[in-house]
Symmetry: C5
């Protein structure tokens, strides 16, 4: 039985964790989860740290929604660096599921991206832990999260 | 009883720590605090280190006010990186409360942003330690500090 | 007998690992390999960590294909930082074989770059482990991977 | 008795350490110092490391003068990152006293900035070690080094 | 007897290590050296790690020649970050001798820069280990490597 950590924020404008949890429910009996909510994306690395150390999670899904301004982009870069440092401290994956507010031009489009990305990365998380062969079978296939897959070059 | 560290600078043009302390006073009996003042934002990571290691704080609120020039932006990026490294050394949250001088166009506006951001992040700090359910209840709700909240996408 | 780790992604649009494996087969008896596939380039540092720690690899070849957008460039920078941190944790080489999607103007050109870079870096990997004198002999010779060599200055 | 480390470079066009030492002499009996000179700003982090580890300094003042080109700005960023990593390794302050060559338009102006910044940061260094209350009393007061103070917002 | 490590690449278009070795020969009996060649600049940090850990070098000279494209500049930044991390792991100097391909407009000019920078930094390396007073005597004197010295401000 694997335990997946979910770290998310009050800053995000959509509750992506809801999509993650709904998807994890399909794997009932195989994976369980622990959720930890923080104010903003820069707080996700410590959230992940705590999910690994205190809650013994095997992998963390970190959900965030950086704003469109230069300052927000800088925050996203720092948050990503922190998630990287945390991963290399524990030797465990943190799947970064960030949706930049300027990736969609309407709230409807943004919501589509957030749902698609959250769901597909939840599958990635489960496969990394329980079925790595799925990833080998899809290596170099142009898989995308948030959008339709890119064309693979044969 | 939790202890919150407050790290702030002589460089900032407003005493944000005053707002933090006033807000913490509402939680008398639940949280106590320790303050440590440094010259500039790049000195906040070691201030936080000392607040964690020497003063045994459970969480640090780091207050800073980066200037508007390219050089100041670069300093803010380094300061944020340092706060991130420090957080991942101790596995404890540092809430970064930075107000960039170009976020407001007048001193009055800047002061409003600084007060609002300091107060709301102090609540975040207390809730992270004493009432994490508040954060879960507000996940994905577009909470903002310094400004009014953003619209949540249902 | 040396063991080379291969870390690659489902995001890439071409299966570069295939080229690496084909090249490693020329060194049958001298080197063996272990493959680990992840969703995207930011997941390669932990993949490398696991290849070093769990699978005892002596060197890792990390294959990735960053997209052309500013966001992709930022991801590539974080991925590279993570690969660097991982290398300095273990004191072992990770050869970063990234092909940026805008390095080629057609899929055909991209494929040529990916094949050439993958193959040449596989030779580099093997030489680093088994024949460092080859690298000394080629020091300062303008060797390029993905393109023809640059002119050496005598 | 506190010991302050002084790290400076042969690259700088002015001997800022001279100003630091002159200022430290005012605190004879309270602080002593150790100097370590390196070629350029990227060498200051190891200089600080050695001043902490070998010479047991309590705080380091790192003096540098980055050039005006993009390449110099990138070097200054790396140097600052290194000073940050070093601070968080030892949990001790390094006051970064960098004067960018483009901060002044004449050599005379540059010299004024370098003198003012070196002297004021030496006072900061001494106060951090011996009189932290001075910093508390000046928190949020818009203190500047190299220029006159900014206006505080009441 | 000090041991200096030399790390260089097959990517560079000129054999700068040759200049370093020729210069070190002037210090026969005082310093010895160990060379380690890698494919590109991002591989220099692990080369330095190995020169420190396996070969017990006291200092490393890292030679590289980043290309002129944005991608190359990003690689140089990562390489520098890695060299910084490695220095702070061992508390020993790595003198970064990078010559950017766009620093010279002709191959002849580039070669002049590479020779001058390699030779002068080899002297810096030897002085750091055997004659630190030379650096103190030249502090703030505008010393340059690759070009003539800048004017010192008295």
């Amino acid at each position: 039985m694997y335990k997946i950590g979910i770290a998310d924020t009050t800053f995000a404008r959509y509750d992506m964790a809801k999509e993650v949890i709904k998807t994890l429910d399909k794997f009932y009996g195989q994976v369980t989860y622990q959720r930890y909510v923080v104010p903003g994306i820069k707080d996700l690395p410590v959230a992940s740290f705590i999910l690994f150390e205190k809650y013994n999670c095997d992998l963390v899904i970190a959900l965030g929604m950086p704003g469109p301004k230069a300052y927000d982009k800088a925050s996203a870069q720092i948050a990503s660096e922190g998630l990287m440092m945390c991963q290399l401290k524990f030797g465990k994956h943190i799947l970064e599921v960030f949706v930049h507010e300027d990736e969609g031009s309407t709230d409807y489009e943004l919501k589509q991206i957030m749902q698609d990305r959250s769901i597909k990365h939840t599958f990635n998380a489960v496969y990394l832990l329980t079925n790595p062969q799925w990833l080998v079978d899809n290596a170099g296939r142009g898989k995308r999260q948030g959008f339709t897959d890119a064309k693979a070059i044969e």
